[in-house]
């Protein structure tokens, strides 16, 4: 029998595996997988619900206080700094800034705890584009005006693979067992939604823009917000279960909401909003790093180090004449302090802002809880059908699959990595899902994540070194039916000087570009209020 090189390679690998089988396993078996539950400080945050706080023992004056050190807060601070304002403080509840873009690191790799990529920027993302140039993520422009992205940050090939019926396939659109009708609907659907990318409304704006508030206000299109994504799909004749699975995956991935609850406007926006292009990669590509968007969060935080106070729980925001008094509890000392500021930027999610400023309370904001696990493995996941990709998804799973932290690495022979497993807890209404999540023990979480990982990757048995879980009680605002263009969101966009708001909640979708743009906008409003001259980045 004559072999192709490929067959030889395969059989050789199987052979080596068979030979090594007993020995290697022996050494690594039995060590229990250890780790811990981490997460946004629910207990501390919940003190805001009617807890009592000590009286401030100091009062300092500042031009500006930014409450919240997520991307919006860091973005606001970065904008102020670049305009020459230095007399400001960012108060962050947690030990680290970054919000949803937080990340971790161990001796194998850095890894994300939340947001982990940014699609190619749309033309409307002017402020983010400037930031990307500052940080060397965009390195220039070609003669057609298309951005040139840093090649090391563009997601490496292969991007995605999907596990179906025991085999991996490239891409996340189900192929195994797809009928001709499924494929016809795939073509029609993607042609329709991606065809909307650069379509403009009567007002000359894109129908689906990022930032969302740059979108056309044509009533016909905003009316899509009155449907759920499933209702819209059925109306358009998209009955394919596979296609619906794929779109449901997209909604859960970006919004933490299922097809049945997502606003059709938001659901279409997931596909139609990404109109960014680049000189040196495909339109569908994106930038990513081992630590996910933590890469950007850390770069933003670096020049702000002197302006950031962490573990600071803001418990009161009061207008006092021209000034605003911001009271916070320093969790390190247990003492309270006051900052009297000329302006305040509330870079907090709406449910926190509303506790501090009851006049903006609204029942219409709801939040998706998420669980994220980082799993350190000392062997690379394998699988037949398609090679290990950046994003690896299991068909029909409630989990969202895992992302490989070392995917952007340059090693030709990586032998250990960190896998970041995502799970939007959309199987229950948020409140129940949150209660269920808080009640689970570490072992239960571990078994859920390892259960799926080892079912798909039996070769990793004995090679899982640690597994940590992060529970996000309120990970992201949910773009439910009617929310995107309803009154609740519009009301939150109103600014009330000297208090300004900056958060992706105001956009209804929790993505980097929205959060950062809101931060820049609030900072520029602050600059106006402070009487500083500046050239807008927006």
């Amino acid at each position: 029998m004559i072999f192709t090189r490929r067959q030889l390679l395969k059989s050789g690998a199987a052979f080596a595996a068979a030979l090594g089988f007993g020995r290697v396993r022996h050494a690594e078996a039995d060590a229990p997988v250890t780790g811990q539950i981490l997460g946004a400080s629910a207990k501390i945050g919940h003190q805001l619900r009617g807890g009592t706080f000590p009286a401030p023992i100091t009062t300092t004056e500042k031009d500006t206080v930014i409450i919240g050190g997520g991307i919006a807060g860091l973005g606001a601070g970065y904008r102020l700094l670049n305009a020459g304002v230095t007399d400001f403080t960012i108060l962050e509840l947690e030990q680290d800034t970054g919000g949803n873009a937080q990340s971790g690191k161990n001796n194998v790799s850095a890894y994300p705890w939340g947001a982990h990529y940014v699609p190619l920027l749309t033309d409307e993302c002017r402020a983010v584009k400037k930031l990307f140039r500052d940080f060397g993520i965009i390195t220039g422009e070609d003669d057609k005006g298309r951005a040139i992205y840093n090649e090391y940050y563009l997601c490496s090939d292969p991007h995605e693979r999907l596990y179906m019926f025991g085999r991996w396939q490239e891409g996340l659109v189900p192929q195994a067992g797809a009928t001709d009708e499924d494929r016809r609907q795939y073509d029609a659907f993607f042609k329709q939604v991606e065809g909307l990318r650069n379509v403009r409304g009567k007002d000359g704006r894109k129908l689906f823009a990022i930032p969302v508030d740059d979108s056309s206000q044509d009533a016909d299109w905003l009316a899509l917000d009155a449907l759920t994504m499933r209702e819209w799909m059925l109306r358009e004749g998209y009955t394919s279960k596979y296609l619906q699975w794929h779109v449901d995956y997209g909604c859960r991935d970006d919004y933490g909401v299922t097809l049945d609850d997502t606003s059709a406007w938001a659901g279409i926006h997931y596909f139609a909003g990404r109109s960014g292009v680049a000189a040196n990669t495909d339109d569908s590509n994106f930038v990513t790093w081992p630590d996910g968007n933590g890469f950007i969060a850390k770069k933003l935080a670096a020049p702000l180090a002197g302006n950031i106070t962490t573990q600071a729980l803001v418990f009161a925001v009061k207008r006092e004449g021209e000034h605003v008094a911001v009271d916070y509890l320093d969790q390190k000392t247990g003492t309270a302090h006051r900052i009297s500021a000329r302006t305040v930027i509330m870079a907090t999610p709406q449910f926190v802002s509303a506790r501090l400023l009851p006049e903006i309370a609204s029942d219409n904001f709801s939040y998706a809880p998420w669980a994220v696990a980082n799993i350190t493995v000392t062997r690379m996941p394998e699988g037949t059908g398609a090679e290990l990709a950046w994003d690896n998804m299991v068909f029909d799973s409630k989990l969202l699959g895992y992302v490989v932290a070392t995917h952007q690495g340059l090693e030709t022979n990586p032998r250990k990595t960190v896998l970041t497993y995502y799970w939007p807890l959309s199987h229950l209404p948020p409140k129940q899902a949150r209660e269920e999540a808080l009640a689970r023990s570490y072992e239960q979480w571990r078994d859920i994540f390892l259960g799926e990982l080892l079912a798909v990757h039996p070769e990793l048995k004995g090679f899982v070194k640690s597994l940590d879980v992060w529970i996000w009680g309120h990970a992201m605002v949910r773009p439910l039916k009617g929310f995107m263009w309803g009154d609740a969101r519009r009301n939150m966009l109103k600014q009330t000087p000297p208090v300004f708001y900056a958060h992706s909640d105001m956009s209804g979708i929790s993505i980097f570009e929205e959060a950062y743009t809101h931060g820049v906008r609030a900072a520029e409003n602050t600059l106006v209020h402070l009487g500083r001259a500046f050239a807008t980045e927006l």
């Binding site: 490929r6 030889l8 068979a18 007993g22 040196n280």
Partner: protein, 504 residues
């Protein structure tokens, strides 16, 4: 007697399920797609058991004698099954036929066991008792097996040893029955002898399973395996026939000593002879020291840096006599500095260092772009990064797979180098062990094929070198996509073209 037979029910039930699990696992290992393998193996096995049960109606006399023979057969075939599957994987035209044949035979023999035992015991126990005890013990044995297999057997023994062990247990049952019943059943001498022979063979297999597997591995290679080692990075195998020494990495042929001079002379000399007195040379890969052997034919060379990930390779090729004869002990040269790092990571480190080293020549002798990890070393990003380590006159040469078999892949390397800003000069020659093989020379300035070469080369002369740069129509230039980190067109071309090629 009755207790003995009942205990043997547990043993044979455990063995039976273990064989089934071993076949399923081995098939998943070798063929992938565990769901399919397990369900088809289990289905075939259960069906075969049914067939075995049905066949027992033809056993009319000498039930115990037949039972003993069946036990010995199950022990022999089941015990050797894992080894057979692994050994024969590469040697049979249709592995699946062998797999299901083995599974069927074992299943059928196992299917004979319980009905026979029931009949043997039918006069010693009331029917009600008999069925309840035998079947209960049968299922209990299955439970043992299903727990033992993943928790003990696979982790501690591995598949091959486990299967030998359970074969021994099956034969053990036969031996036990023979001795316990030596007075009741006459003329068991033949059975006794065969049981003992099988038991010895299985024990031998159990003890020497790893050695057998290694010897058998040589069956997959031409000649005899004179060295094999699994490093954290790859499996290194060296084989020898009377006139030929071959190196395989992960079963891919790297060179044959008969014609490797063609490959390595062509890799090194067109590039180095184009330079006036090359002083510094960078080699990616090449841990066998053969490209280095050619490089050291230039007395002007003062320093060579070799980036090879695997220390085991360079150690092997600098210590073994037979191998240092081949590479002239090049790896022991005082001019050589070996860095055991990933090439791309090393290049990035150098690029970002205060004073990046400059090389007159760069030789890329890395494996073919057969996967997305290796593909990175052929990417525009990698070649662009290399620019900081060369000067205007430097020459880079990249081994670029076969322009005949993988024409698009070959030209993709050429086009990617051009896209990275280099001028290129592609060429090729025939290396019998590989077939038609190609290289691309890249430089920031124009390249002229040299006319003078070191003395004593076996292939490269002014005439043969000039010929190498001509591409006949079947290998002529093609426009291709560019190999980028974010879209590895080269890996896809390579995979498609080699899988379609049926000659090798």
């Amino acid at each position: 007697m009755q207790t003995l037979l009942l205990i043997s029910v547990i043993v044979i039930a455990t063995c039976g399920l273990v064989y089934e699990l071993i076949a399923g696992t081995a098939a998943s290992y070798l063929l992938g797609d565990s769901v399919t393998q397990f369900s088809t193996v289990i289905g075939c096995y259960l069906f075969a058991m049914g067939a075995g049960s049905w066949l027992t109606k033809y056993v009319e006399r000498n039930l115990i004698g037949v039972f003993i023979k069946v036990e010995i057969l199950v022990g022999a075939i089941g015990g050797a099954s894992a080894m057979l599957l692994f050994l024969l994987f590469d040697h049979v035209a249709s592995f699946r036929v062998l797999l299901y044949f083995l599974v069927f035979i074992i299943g059928m023999l196992v299917g004979v066991e319980i009905p026979l035992l029931l009949r043997i015991l039918k006069d010693r126990l009331e029917f009600r008792e008999l069925v309840s005890r035998v079947l209960a013990l049968d299922y209990l044995g299955a439970l043992f097996a299903s727990i033992l297999f993943p928790l003990v057997l696979v982790p501690y023994l591995g598949l091959v040893k486990s299967s030998f062990l359970f074969g021994m247990m099956n034969v053990g049952v036969a031996v036990w029955v023979i001795y316990a019943l030596k007075d009741e059943v006459p003329s068991l001498a033949a059975s006794r002898a065969s049981a003992i022979i099988v038991l010895v063979l299985l024990t031998f297999g159990f003890v020497y399973s790893e050695r057998i597997m290694t010897i058998a591995e040589s069956g997959a290679y031409p000649g005899s395996v004179i060295f094999s080692q699994s490093t954290p990075y790859q499996r290194i195998v060296i084989t020898k026939t009377r006139h030929d020494l071959r190196l395989f990495l992960n079963s891919n042929l790297q060179f044959s000593s008969v014609d490797e001079y063609r490959y390595h002379e062509a890799l090194v000399h067109p590039a180095l002879s184009a330079l006036d007195n090359p002083k510094s040379v960078l080699i990616f890969g090449g841990g066998d020291g053969l490209a280095l052997r050619e490089v050291l034919k230039y007395p002007s060379v003062e320093k060579v840096v070799m980036i090879d990930l695997d220390p085991a390779m360079t150690e092997l090729f600098s210590q073994s006599d037979i191998l240092t004869q081949l590479n002239n002990g090049s790896l022991l040269s005082k001019k050589l500095e070996i860095v055991h790092k990933d090439a791309f990571i090393w290049v990035r480190e150098m690029q970002q260092s205060a004073n990046p080293p400059q090389f007159d020549a760069v030789i890329s002798d890395v494996p073919d772009p057969s996967n997305f990890s290796i593909g990175k070393l052929y990417s525009r990003t990698f070649f662009s990064a290399l620019k900081s380590l060369v000067h205007d006159k430097s020459v880079i040469v990249v081994q670029s797979t076969s322009p005949l078999v993988a024409r698009k892949a070959f030209w993709c390397v050429n086009n990617t180098l051009q896209d990275a800003g280099f001028k290129t000069a592609p060429y090729h020659l025939n290396v019998p062990a590989f077939g038609e093989w190609g290289y691309v020379i890249a430089s920031l300035s124009d390249f002229t094929v040299p006319e003078k070469y070191p003395a004593g080369l076996k292939y490269i002369t002014a005439r043969s070198a000039a010929d190498m740069f001509y591409f006949p129509p079947d290998m002529a230039h093609l426009d291709t996509k560019i190999q980028r980190l974010d879209d590895q067109a080269l890996v896809r071309y390579f995979d498609q073209e080699w899988s379609e090629y049926q000659i090798y």
